[in-house]
C-alpha cells in the first residue's frame, strides 16, 4: 500500500444513534484495502472504545484517521473535561460513567484498557478542563 488515505469524522455529543459510525466506516475501508481480519478487528475495537469515550465523557469530538504504508493512526480528540487521574482510568474496572450509561452496557471500566490491549501504540494527551486526545496506532 503506497498511498496515503486520510479521513475525518465528527463524533456528535451524547448521540448513541451515530456512535460507532466512524469506526464502522474505517472497518469497511480497511476491509476494502485487504487488511488482515485480525488487524481490522483490533483497529475497530480500539477505535470504537475511543469513539464511545468521546460520546460519553468528552461531549463529542473528532476522529482523524491516516492510513499510510503498513499502519493506521487514529486520533480521537474531544474538548471534554479531561481525565483527572489517567493512571486510575487505565485500570480495568475503574469508571466515572453515570448509571444511565451503565444501563446501556457501558461504564464497566474497560474502555481504555481495551484500547491499550488492542492497539500496538497508544498515546493519551489529556488536560483537565481542556479535553483529551487519544492516538491509536495499529500495524498491519
Amino acid at each position: 500500500m503506497g498511498q496515503v488515505i486520510i479521513r475525518d469524522f465528527d463524533i456528535p455529543a451524547d448521540d448513541f444513534l451515530a456512535a460507532g459510525e466512524a469506526s464502522s466506516a474505517v472497518r469497511k475501508l480497511l476491509s476494502q484495502l485487504g487488511v488482515a481480519p485480525d488487524r481490522i478487528k483490533r483497529t475497530a475495537i480500539a477505535m470504537y472504545e475511543a469513539e464511545i469515550n468521546a460520546v460519553i465523557h468528552g461531549h463529542g469530538g473528532k476522529a482523524h484517521v491516516e492510513i499510510r504504508g503498513d499502519k493506521i493512526t487514529i486520533v480521537i480528540s474531544d474538548k471534554g473535561p479531561g481525565i483527572e487521574d489517567l493512571e486510575l482510568a487505565m485500570q480495568e474496572g475503574y469508571s466515572t460513567a453515570p448509571d444511565s450509561i451503565r444501563e446501556m452496557g457501558f461504564g464497566a471500566g474497560m474502555g481504555l484498557p481495551n484500547i491499550k490491549k488492542h492497539a500496538d501504540e497508544l498515546v493519551i494527551n489529556t488536560e483537565k478542563g481542556k479535553g483529551t486526545a487519544v492516538t491509536i496506532t495499529v500495524y498491519f
Partner: protein
C-alpha cells in the same frame, strides 16, 4: 449450522434482517451484557446473546461481524434498534428462553453437528 437452523430448532422469532441473512453459517455462541467485553471477545460469525436492546448492540455486532444477536426472555427490542439492525445488516432474533437456556441449547446443537 446456520442462523435459520438455530431459529427453527429453538423456536426464535426473527426481529431484524432478511431471509438471506439467516443462511449464514455460525461459528459459535457468546453470551455477555458488558459491551466492552463482548466487543473484545465476539468472533466473526458468532451468535451473541444479550439482554441489551439499545443501538450500541447493533454497532458492536456489526463491528465484530457477529452473525446474529439473540435477545432472550421475550425482552422487547426498541424500534430504532430494529431499524438500525436492518440498515447495518445485522440479523436479530428474539426468544422467550433465558440466556442460560439458549446458551445450553445452542452449544448442544453445535456439538451434535460436530
Amino acid at each position: 449450522m446456520t442462523i435459520r437452523d438455530i431459529k427453527d430448532k429453538l423456536g426464535c422469532r426473527q426481529a431484524a434482517g432478511t431471509d438471506k441473512m439467516l443462511e449464514r453459517e455460525i461459528t459459535g455462541v457468546y453470551c455477555c451484557d458488558l459491551l466492552s467485553h463482548a466487543m473484545a471477545k465476539l468472533d466473526h460469525g458468532n451468535l451473541w446473546i444479550t439482554v441489551h436492546t439499545n443501538l450500541n448492540v447493533v454497532a458492536v455486532a456489526s463491528l465484530t461481524d457477529a452473525a446474529c444477536v439473540i435477545v432472550p426472555e421475550g425482552i422487547e427490542i426498541e424500534e430504532q434498534t430494529i431499524a438500525k439492525a436492518n440498515e447495518k445488516q445485522v440479523a436479530m432474533l428474539s426468544s422467550t428462553k433465558t440466556a442460560a437456556e439458549l446458551s445450553y441449547e445452542i452449544i448442544s446443537l453445535l456439538r451434535k453437528a460436530g
